[in-house]
Symmetry: D3
Subunit: 148 residues, 6 copies
């Protein structure tokens, strides 16, 4: 389990942002104030749209360098891993008659004590998943982490 | 997305417990003080042991009635859904050379405004996943929700 | 394995309905005559349509209370589990160039001796899966069971 | 959907054997009396043992020629497809803290009108899946079909 | 591992064709000159189109008898297994915001020494997978083998 | 598809090594002589052993810096992606009664023209998968690629 410096808990930080907003997350974990953060929202029956919303937000806010495949690749796999948590084993939304309404956060920084570990990226989704009818839904959460 | 009464956010409450502990979670979401909560920890390369740790804690603390298959079944599927988030699409730990160190929370209550919606259960895991070597790991998170 | 009262075999009952029709199923298992039964047919390359056909039939025939998310949620997961049997590990139909022609049954009742176990729901699909060309197909079967 | 000659329904025949026994299945579908049939039972937390029980029974009863990889390969994939129905998307039993008690049937014959379609094999499992505690289980069903 | 006659390595032969072209493959493995070979290319975000491109090429070039379901079924499962390698555990392309550009080969012959083992088919894909933006992609490879 | 500089085809290079050996691969693609290469063999019913054989070989030969989690993490995900091709959708070997005999290659270098794209790693497995009986097996192939 995570021990030593709290810096390793940047995934927790990204989850707290998705769950409670950036302000509360920073009050709880002020040591992460130097990490880059973006947030957004997306609602869709189309998983493709969920993925591209995060990618677009990350590029537009210069969270990643959209010119580098290396950074796109790292972000993509972090998004997919977070989406696995959201969809729980079936990486599908509309195809299995579900819709999602999600808040997301992306956090980038150096969570390990050793500078040679370099930068990592965390993606967290929190929101609802369910039938495409208001109220016929429950909460869902997913976290993906990758080196960048 | 969740709107209306905040009661629908008991999954968020369970996630905050796993992430920050029950005390902080209750400070952030005091309206959930009447929900039943249990917490625990488990570290293993064996997914079976992760599942049974939550089941045993839930029975021992009378979170579920262990005599009723109905309640065992509801809890089991909530655990498996949370484990899907932890393992991100591969529902395996030791078989793919990974180990996990997890804090977990189980929350039971009536999150919907309509009493006919009855009781629901949320299971959240938060911790680390990685190689069976100290420090070669990153964070992981999973949430499962079911009617009970 | 199932022992004691035969009532526990309501999944078998739902499978016999999908395979042989309700009349033959009741001749073979008359003790289930008090269980609620609906049947239907659906042919599609679109898994979403298969799911929604069962949901619509179940709501229209008052097999479930469409106003309650609890009941929708229980039925949805039973349908998905049955669809896993139909698609055998790939929860996709048209996306992988297959089409299905399915008869389905939904059965609701109290299959366990102990009344505290409450009501359960079974969904069974039986039909064909294959290339979208007549005759280029073989049979397929799937059963899902959930507490409701 | 199945039309024309009923011979195409040998998967239904294998399912009826697993569900009701060979005698009842033949009464319902006498036109299949020339198909080769074997049946057996297996209870385990170990999916490997489930697979090998069917393979061993099929070889011992000369349902397949154990010397030919071709026939072993065809049977193996039919077993795995049937096991996907049993486990519903997670091809694991003991690893996810479940146990199964299954009756199985294997049927071999020429289900298509055209003799050039040759022989096919169907494997069906029916029984229970659940916690490794008596009564904490529900029914499960799976069918796999392959050319041989 | 493959030993004895090199004939068992027709999967390697199909991979070398997809990777280096038929001419180089035959120079490296001239003993396969009597195996039937077809090759093609397909680029798409739609997995269905990838599958049907191989099926159409195989039928048009009389690699399989398109009238027989037996042969269609054998080829279909070989294609799907090769696609599992391409997509690595998520049998989706466009749905998860990816596009593929693939060369494919299909090889048919009798790779085992014993004539009773009959004919087998191998399908290999080699190319790129990635974001639908030029250069934001890496290589991918998949091989499927089935008896026919 | 990959065009421009052939350097982008280091995945093909790693596949040719696993399929034909390093000598032949270098004759076919001499422009990769500056990429780091390791090779090895592993036969097992235990996927964990397959994974750890590659990890151990990569650390012992200084292909990766075993002290850095960053590099371990990149290699691990490349191995898992290659194993997905080998197992084709079921990331299990012994659990589903299969055994593998595999040659593997790991290649590390800078395959993109732009130096900012940095280093990438490719893992390729080639060999056999089948029943744990000599000769009851066919070929299998898998490629995984990651930034490092």
């Amino acid at each position: 389990m995570n021990s030593g410096t709290n810096q390793q808990a940047f995934g927790k930080f990204s989850a707290l942002i998705a769950l409670t907003g950036e302000k509360t997350a920073l009050e709880l974990m002020p040591e992460y104030q130097n990490f880059k953060v973006i947030t957004g929202k997306v609602g869709s029956m189309d998983l493709k749209k969920v993925i591209s919303s995060v990618e677009t937000a990350a590029k537009r806010n210069e969270m990643i360098d959209g010119e580098l495949y290396r950074e796109t690749h790292a972000l993509y796999h972090a998004i997919i891993e977070a989406a696995e948590g959201v969809t729980r084993g079936k990486l599908s939304v509309g195809e299995v008659m579900r819709t999602v309404g999600l808040a997301f956060s992306v956090v980038r920084g150096s969570p390990y004590g050793d500078p040679a570990e370099g930068e990592w990226i965390a993606v967290c989704f929190y929101g609802t998943i369910g039938a495409p009818i208001k109220g016929k839904e429950h909460e869902t959460l997913g976290l993906g982490i990758n080196h960048i």
